[in-house]
């Protein structure tokens, strides 16, 4: 590790310091983040697969079983967010708890709870879409463009 001497000009001290920070900080953190993102994201997917199999065994066709699975996962995520459990998981899991549809549900409930004091309309109603709004805008617009292209060039 590089040593920082008081006698060096400030610029060099700064550079040395940044080098030290880079050496010490990001690597282990990234490794740990990636590990937990993988494990938690994988486990939430496995939970989804369990529900998917369950609903198919109950006689639902695959698309309906998928819709039922999303519904259950969203319900569980909303409940766990309300109880304050989901955000504790998110601290460790990072993207592992953001990317699954449970993370989408969490991104709706958390700000809506937080800003409830601003009223049912501008607090809860509007804040539910803090993140879901952009997701729906970009998802729907892109899917629409794809469908229009398909219409003209199929």
């Amino acid at each position: 590790m590089a040593e920082v001497k008081d006698s060096q000009p400030l610029e060099i001290q700064k550079k040395e310091y940044q080098k030290m920070v880079q050496e010490v900080q990001p690597r282990p953190t990234v490794g740990r983040n990636v590990f937990w993102a993988f494990v938690v994201g994988g486990l939430i997917s496995v939970l989804g697969q369990l529900f998917l199999n369950f609903f198919q065994a109950r006689g639902l066709a695959l698309p309906e079983a998928g819709a039922a699975t999303s519904t259950v996962l969203v319900f569980l995520a909303a409940l766990l967010t309300g109880l304050g459990v989901y955000d504790e998981i998110a601290k460790i899991a990072g993207a592992g708890s953001i990317v699954p549809i449970t993370g989408f549900a969490n991104s709706m409930v958390a700000p809506a709870m937080e800003y409830r004091g601003e009223g049912l309309v501008l607090g809860v109603g509007a804040r539910l879409f803090t993140v879901a709004g952009p997701v729906l805008v970009f998802g729907i617009v892109t899917a629409w463009i794809v469908a229009i292209l398909y219409y003209f060039f199929r």
Binding site: L52, T71, L79, V135, W144, A147, Y151
Partner: protein
């Protein structure tokens, strides 16, 4: 082996999250959860349109449908299916129709949870 699907779901679901984690940790831009979710939904739509996402769904099941890219896949296939059935009008109705259950569940349960619980601290 019937239970292989769980392993595949774990691997693919986990790896998609790893991609997102790397984007958040290793890029110089400030990549927030909102950016991650928007990126995954858009990426899912595009991969689906190119015919690349359905094979992943066939192989990994919920590992590909539970991450938000699977939501994008549903949107794209719904919109394309809409065009097949109804022409241009289907491009407007198909995508949201295919994802209606998830969207409604998120809005309803989200609203109820926000009313029922108080944030900690």
């Amino acid at each position: 082996m019937k239970n292989m699907i769980f392993l595949k779901a774990f691997l693919v679901g986990g790896l998609l999250c790893v991609i997102a984690q790397l984007l958040m940790d290793l890029t110089s831009h400030k990549v927030t959860p909102a950016h991650v979710l928007v990126g995954f939904v858009t990426g899912g739509v595009i991969l689906s349109a190119l015919g690349l996402y359905q094979p992943l769904v066939n192989w990994a099941g919920a590992g590909a449908t539970v991450p938000l890219s699977g939501f994008g896949h549903l949107l794209a296939q719904g919109a394309i299916g809409g065009v097949k059935q109804k022409g241009v009008l289907g491009a407007f109705s198909g995508g949201v129709a295919a994802t209606a259950a998830g969207i409604t569940a998120a809005v309803v349960f989200g609203y109820l949870a926000a009313l029922a619980f108080r944030p900690k601290g």
